[in-house]
Symmetry: C2
Subunit: 548 residues, 2 copies
């Protein structure tokens, strides 16, 4: 049997467009000899549909579209497609996360997802009633166990801690004989996750002595990037086929064959992160209806890396870099920015902010009399720049992208309504130390766009004379190590101090993280590349105490 | 038996402070003759603790504090208190939402919440493993059925649709005899909810012929306001005692007695909304560590109402109103603002923005040459004002509060990084038509602070000559009616048109709602007063299509 793994880039909510994409892929797969086609989880809706699911009009639209799709694909190979179905039981959540087998013009079978992830960025208990067990689809005499994403993520031999009390796979294989498993997934990217997924798929295939076809969607949807990397693992636990990472692909898997395609991939951190950030930026800009982006170039490494990412994501001809020097900007920063833009081949604009700074000073002279200069004046500069960038964005219909990194966003070393402005915060989940590694990587792998001086200079916001980041923050390698423990591993301050960090610095970092919460709540979406990102999956109260 | 319903105002995460508050209340209750004290759901942690629960250090802190509390209250009446407990089963979510009976220096019994709300603003499946059934606490020979919030919200005779497949109350009363039910709640306010709660409590008490004591917390926590209104319903289904609304209270309920206290209340929409907005503003400002607030006064009704709310919430001496006229501001707007501030007794500051506008124009002259004026220039004015307000906020350590109403925020009739700036969006869940009703109400009930001219003038952003809101938007009564159907009832465009609204206007409103999503994602927390507010419970994708 030849199964087509349809790794497609859906637009959330675009049922019409997604259906067309699925139908086209099925026709293509037939030409390539497929006996069965499989699309990804909730593919018809685009994953994750979130609160669009609360509209019954949306769910009805999907139901009628799936009927239409079945009829339209009458003479095509059978298709297993993900969608949401109304829960007919009359009790519990109103919907089910479903996989439908479309065959010979009809919906032949319906399968429901049993395990509903409700952690991090996932909210599936919010919408769906769980199914009791996966089922078996019979296609050309082959018994195919149909699972949806999380259903296969709870194996007691693989996990130290089982997140759910039941294991649908155990139940399925205990009650039925299956020749093959398929898994419809909507599995967002994080650095290192594919290696983990593959080890898990291998463990399951080996344990049950059954091949498994894993189908993931690809593309960026708001803060999530889906890396695709659909693959098939043979009954012996070996990868036998693999789709191209970070792009659309229709992979035909011959379960018995030996000539399956295994796409090349690269699991180094920089390569993974770079491709995810490029795809996430490209799709967010495009799916929001923009063609062009603009950003502020400060002469620092964050905006330099963001510019390089943007040029690859939307094309250098669609990137505008804006330099907005103040009296505190060094000539080096301006020269370096010009050089960077030249190397990238992106357009530039120069808008000195001195005139507007003076106008603010004059306007605020009376209320500020008697006060000494403080962070207020620094924020004003940042907000002037943010307002200029938004003015250009409004006037030229280009999306402003912001350039702050995760370390800064964590400790609030950024100005709300200033440098945080933007439709997308490209580096919001990239710690500063990874910004450096990515900059070196892009210079090695993308024609050396970032001038050495930008990488080597001491980081500075240049908002007052002779300022550097390390006047107010610990060295970035120390800061990132503490943040990694505090934010991602949820260690307590006590634990972090016990592991060798100074207590004053740990206290300070924790205090800064806490007090920046109000800023993060108002920040643009970032692109999630780590296990714990700000954004959808970050649900921390603002008006609170955090003493641990 | 005399039960103390301890309706307290907790700070989320402040385990130390909350424990102290609980202990003080127990001592007070003893003096007042209580035989048993009951605190609200997760009271020790403050509700909702959200992702603080992901820190094991936080949960351990709570565990040790509860032990300490038990010892400390050894000689006091028994206490049922809400906290989070580690799930000892080894499978499933790591925590339980628990109610602990502290008696004679020990934790005598532990009860777990069975029904975990995971909809709207609630995410309890994210953290908690459900309990199997509520239990019975034996205190002085009285059998007390202990339930937690949602546990009593699934009665099949009361609800048309049961959200959960099991009913813990049915299970409890089926297997045990109970003399009395207690319910520890963390039930956020919405307009009209208390009437609904009371009808539900009455229905349950009557059905099972058992008195029920409902204990809710009080106070504002980020976007949620808890209205308290703890009460007791007798076995006959009559309210026998009721705590004061919107403030702390310790209500002693004598289950057999006839002299219980029933606090006065007012269920008119305006009164409910006003008290919730005042409490929500006061607590957010205070719990964020601020004493003072500032806001921009435009001469319009939204900022006028916000100023009146702020004056009641934090005291008139702590409110600064800033007028920032441009050449497009009418003299009437300035005069009306001055008069409003005078009537409210709040301080004012006048900062004309002409100088800064000119500086922006000059700076942008070159890149804007060849473009005609459009919304860009309007946004620049708004962003200048937003930056001036933030400058004052930074310099004077006063929280900026924003004044946009729900109708504007819905359709994006507001400027991101401009008038949306602030720590709290006071009216973000108040539709414009309710803004008018509240303004009339406050004039009748709070000494007529809002000049008639402000209420009567046509709404205008005054960002270009002779502009009014209705140049770009339908009349607010029409807009609000459409929004109510589209946002709160999740009707499709088709259904709304079928109910009698013009299709062009419905299409336009839906399109505006969709395209403002990116702004809302970056807006400050609002104060939820309706069943469907932007903020925590609003999870709508940005880069998507919405064609229904």
């Amino acid at each position: 049997m030849r199964i087509a793994l349809m790794q497609l880039n859906f637009v959330v909510g675009d049922i019409e467009g997604n259906a067309r994409k699925i139908a086209d892929a099925v026709r293509h797969a037939k030409t390539a000899g497929a006996d069965l086609c499989v699309a990804s989880e909730l593919g018809l809706l685009g994953y994750p549909p979130r609160d669009l699911l609360l509209y019954s009009g949306f769910v009805e639209l999907a139901a009628s579209k799936v009927q239409q799709l079945a009829r339209e694909l009458k003479d095509q190979p059978p298709l297993i497609v993900g969608t949401a179905e109304r829960n007919a039981s009359g009790k519990g959540r109103t919907l089910r996360n479903a996989a439908l087998l479309l065959q010979e013009g009809e919906i032949k079978s319906t399968f429901f997802k049993s395990l509903l992830p409700t952690y991090d960025v996932f909210d599936e208990d919010r919408y769906f009633e769980p199914g009791q067990s996966p089922g078996v689809a019979l296609v050309d005499g082959v018994r195919i166990g149909v699972t949806i994403c999380e259903d296969i993520w709870n194996d007691k031999d693989f996990w130290k801690h089982q997140r759910y009390s039941s294991d649908p796979l155990e139940r399925l294989t205990g009650s039925s004989t299956v020749d093959c498993l398929v898994n419809l997934s909507g599995s967002p990217f994080t650095v290192g996750k594919q290696e983990f997924r593959e080890s898990m798929l291998k463990a399951i295939a080996s344990k049950y002595h059954v091949p498994i076809c894993y189908v993931n969607q690809v593309g960026g949807n708001d803060d999530l990037v889906f890396d695709g990397r659909s693959c098939a693992v043979g009954a012996s636990g070996k990868i036998i086929a693999k789709a191209r990472p970070f792009e659309e692909d229709i992979l035909i898997v011959d379960l018995q064959g030996s000539s399956n395609r295994i796409a090349e991939d690269d699991f180094t951190v920089e390569s993974e992160a770079w491709r995810a950030l490029v795809l996430g930026t490209r799709d967010y800009v495009r799916k929001c209806g923009f063609k062009r982006v603009l950003l502020g170039l400060s002469g620092g490494i964050d905006s330099a890396l963001t510019a390089a990412l943007a040029a690859e994501a939307v094309g250098k001809e669609n990137v505008l870099a804006v330099m907005m020097p103040s009296p505190y900007s060094s000539q080096g920063s301006i020269d370096d920015s010009v050089e960077l833009a030249k190397r990238l081949g992106i357009k530039t604009e120069m808008l000195p902010i001195q005139t507007i700074m003076s106008a603010f000073n004059e306007t605020l002279k009376v209320p500020f009399s008697g006060y000494v200069p403080d962070v207020t004046e620094e924020n004003i500069q940042s907000r002037i720049r943010g307002s200029l960038l938004m003015a250009l964005s409004n006037k030229c219909h280009a999306m402003l992208i912001s350039t702050g990194n995760k370390s800064e966003v964590s400790v609030g070393y950024c100005t709300i309504y200033g440098d945080m402005n933007g439709g997308l915060a490209v580096l919001a989940d990239v710690p500063k130390t990874l910004v450096y590694r990515l900059s070196e990587w892009v210079n090695r792998n993308r024609g050396n766009p970032i001038p050495r001086a930008i990488i080597q200079k001491a980081p500075s916001a240049e908002l007052k004379p002779n300022q550097t980041d390390q006047d107010s923050l610990p060295a970035y390698d120390v800061l990132d190590a503490i943040l990694q423990r505090y934010l991602e591993q949820h260690q307590s301050k006590e634990e972090i101090i016990a592991s060798g960090f100074g207590s004053a610095i740990v206290e300070k970092v924790a205090r800064l993280v806490k007090s920046a919460e109000f800023k993060r709540k108002q920040s643009p979406p970032g692109i999630k590349i780590t296990d714990r990102a700000f954004g959808t999956g970050w649900r921390v109260p603002i008006a609170s105490r955090q003493d641990f």
